[in-house]
């Protein structure tokens, strides 16, 4: 156990799995830092965010594969390779690029098992950076997990801390299904305790990050940290339970419903856009499954129904804030 950054936790998960299993390969753009083509360089930066640092040096060009800028080929090749003996981990530098290659994810990889009558496994991971807060504007800062979660056949993972990142990524690599692994770019530098040895965190099991009795706050991804901070601040006046579902598909509605039945109040905090988003999903499911359990109207805090703006002050307004979370919790409890 030692303190590692979110970036390091991901790196360690990949390295340990690659050491353990020779069928795990990485492919993507600039993941070997252009080492495939250029002499005279000083070594790979390990992708745009430095997440893969050292992996090219350790595993070589055969397993850390730089590709042309051709996301359909990258993800499609990962899907084809997953059918034929590898466990590929494909990288979309920014998950926002899914628009040029989604067919290979949602119509191909996600549906193989069903279309083929269960005669195959599709053990692949598509990793990519998500989220706002980095000033990267409309096409490099989207959340997108509600879209991926809508697709049967995909699993969608949204780690909120270094510990989660490592355990969930190892699970994703060992999983027999295609997994979208979403790395919030603002989290890369956050630090936390991470075991040195490999471990897995099962999918579909929410994590209670704060126990409480007055309200259930379901928070996704980066918002878990925000909600934890608010919960700590409000204590002991208010006892706020914070749940981190960790995967949006499967989504642990069981634990959410259990918590809501205990607290009688519900707030969902998510950075994704609102329409057909996680807030709607969680609140809708609670309304269906636990009608009558809510003592107050449930609320959701999400990004607005707008693209991500470039201006820093607007981007800050775009992202749910600790202040809004705190105010909303107070309002719900005040009734």
């Amino acid at each position: 156990m030692s303190v590692k950054s979110f970036r390091e936790a991901i790196n360690e998960a990949l390295r340990q799995e690659m050491e353990r299993d020779p069928t795990v390969i990485l492919l993507g753009e600039d993941i070997a830092g252009g080492q495939g083509g250029i002499a005279g360089g000083e070594g790979s930066t390990g992708n745009m965010f430095g997440v893969l640092k050292g992996l090219y040096e350790q595993f070589g060009a055969e397993r850390v594969i730089d590709t042309p800028i051709s996301e359909s080929a990258i993800v499609g090749a990962a899907a084809g390779a997953a059918l034929t003996g590898l466990r590929p981990v494909a990288e979309l530098m920014f998950m926002d690029f899914f628009g040029v290659c989604f067919d290979q994810i949602y119509n191909q990889a996600a549906k193989f098992r069903y279309m083929f009558g269960g005669t195959c496994n599709v053990p692949m991971v598509v990793r990519g950076a998500v989220g706002a807060g980095f000033g990267s504007a409309a096409q490099h800062a989207q959340a997108l997990w509600p879209i991926f979660s809508h697709i049967p056949g995909l699993k969608v993972v949204l780690p909120s801390s270094p510990y989660e990142a490592k355990g969930l990524l190892i699970q994703a690599i060992r999983d027999e299904d295609p997994v979208m692994f979403l790395e919030h770019k603002v989290l890369y530098n956050t630090k936390g305790e991470v075991p040195d040895e490999p471990y897995t965190i099962p999918f579909g099991e929410a994590n209670i990050t704060r126990e409480g009795d007055d309200i259930t706050v379901v928070a996704f991804g980066r918002m878990v940290q925000f909600c934890n901070e608010v919960a700590d601040k409000l204590r002991p006046n208010f006892s706020v339970e914070v749940l981190d579902p960790r995967t949006t598909s499967p989504l642990d509605m069981e634990m959410i419903v259990e918590s809501v039945e205990h607290t009688g109040r519900l707030l969902v905090v998510d950075e994704a856009n609102p329409l057909c988003g996680m807030g709607s999903e969680v609140i809708g499911s609670v309304a269906i499954e636990a009608h009558g359990a809510l003592r107050a109207a449930p609320r959701k805090i999400t990004a607005p129904h707008t693209p991500v703006p470039a201006a820093p002050n607007l981007e800050e307004l775009y992202i749910p804030s600790r202040d809004t979370i705190e105010r909303t919790i107070r309002e719900i409890i005040a009734g």
Binding site: F116, G117, G153
Partner: protein, 333 residues
């Protein structure tokens, strides 16, 4: 390196067993498809179906060089590829009729029929879907140090899809053991290849990606098999991908039921008369003296029985169990 457009000697080079296997595949495709066409018209086949008739020599000539460990990714017009790749007619028929016991339990149907155990990674209802997938299989072979290849079947229409071009460059850059088999059958749906390929030269486009690309007579089993032999040898030797543009004609409509208003009756009749891969095969082998007409006739008979058995059984087979709706979405969830 040997070039496929040089004078070919393959009739004498291929052993008799291979010749008979190739013929059997072609004949099976032809008669199976004819039967499916009849059953489709009779309303017995659910959904859309695209028939391969007229292109038999391509699937057969390509797959004659492949084992179960060589992987092919196919198209919406995939029955021929299945048969040539060794899928069994019984489960195939059940699948096309969407019945219990189908290769895909009846959940895939004509456009998603697959048998991964046979290296048939699925028909594909997305035009251009096949090439990236086959590249993945080629990448797996390369990474695992196996001598196998990936083969993408795709049409002239699919050759305009961005995924196809990406895959071509990708395969060249990574020197993948890949073969792109482009079946130029004159049309993408209703639209002629002369219209939709701006350069008029599909193989030329592929060559510009930096790989050998050959135009081949796709109605001639031997022309296809010879070109494929070279491509496969190159791939297995680690020298990278090849494209084969195989020219043939689609005999039927784009899908069964297509009135083909965009095409003259005359052209269709001409095609059937002058470009029949089975006739061409028979003529060539009989001239070579290697195989007798009697031997081929015997295959014809066996094939007819086999098809009739498979299709008849499929028609009367039960539908999938209702519980199948919810299975096979995930390995675990």
């Amino acid at each position: 390196m040997k070039k496929p457009n040089q004078d070919l000697q393959s009739i004498t080079e291929l052993d008799k067993d291979t010749l008979l296997r190739g013929y059997r595949a072609m004949k099976t495709i032809r008669e199976f498809e004819n039967r499916i066409s009849i059953e489709y018209a009779a309303g017995n086949v659910p959904g859309m179906t695209h028939l391969y008739i007229g292109q038999e020599a391509i699937a057969a000539g390509v797959c004659i060089h492949l084992s179960d460990d060589d992987n092919t990714a196919s198209t919406h017009r995939g029955h021929g590829h299945c048969i040539a790749k060794g899928c069994e007619l019984g489960p195939m028929s059940l699948e096309l009729f969407r019945k219990a016991g189908g290769i895909c339990k009846g959940k895939g149907g004509s456009m998603h029929i697959a048998d991964v155990s046979k290296g048939m990674l699925g028909a594909n209802a997305i035009v251009g879907g096949s090439s990236p997938l086959a590249c993945g299989a080629a990448l797996a072979a390369k990474t695992l140090g196996k001598p196998n290849v990936g083969v993408a079947f795709l049409g002239d229409g699919a050759s305009n899809q961005g995924t196809t071009f990406e895959a071509m460059n990708f395969a060249v850059v990574l020197k993948l053991p890949m073969i792109f088999v482009i079946e130029n059958n004159g049309f993408g749906e209703h639209t002629g290849v002369d219209y939709h390929v701006g350069s008029g030269d599909i193989a030329g486009r592929a060559a510009a990606f930096g790989m050998p690309a050959h135009k081949v007579d796709g109605t001639d089993f031997f022309a296809v098999a010879d070109a494929m032999a070279i491509a496969v040898a190159r791939a297995r030797a680690g020298e990278g991908p090849t494209t084969l543009e195989c020219l043939a004609k689609r005999w039927h409509g784009h899908y069964e039921g297509d009135p083909q208003a965009y095409r003259s009756k005359q052209e269709i009749e001409n095609t059937r008369e002058t470009a029949d891969p089975l006739t061409i095969f028979r003529t060539k082998v009989s001239r070579s003296g290697l195989v007798s007409a009697t031997e081929l006739d015997a295959i014809d008979k066996e094939v007819a029985t086999e098809i009739d058995d498979a299709v008849t059984a499929a028609i009367v087979a039960p539908q999938p169990d209702p519980s199948e709706l919810l299975t096979d979405v995930y390995g675990s969830y």
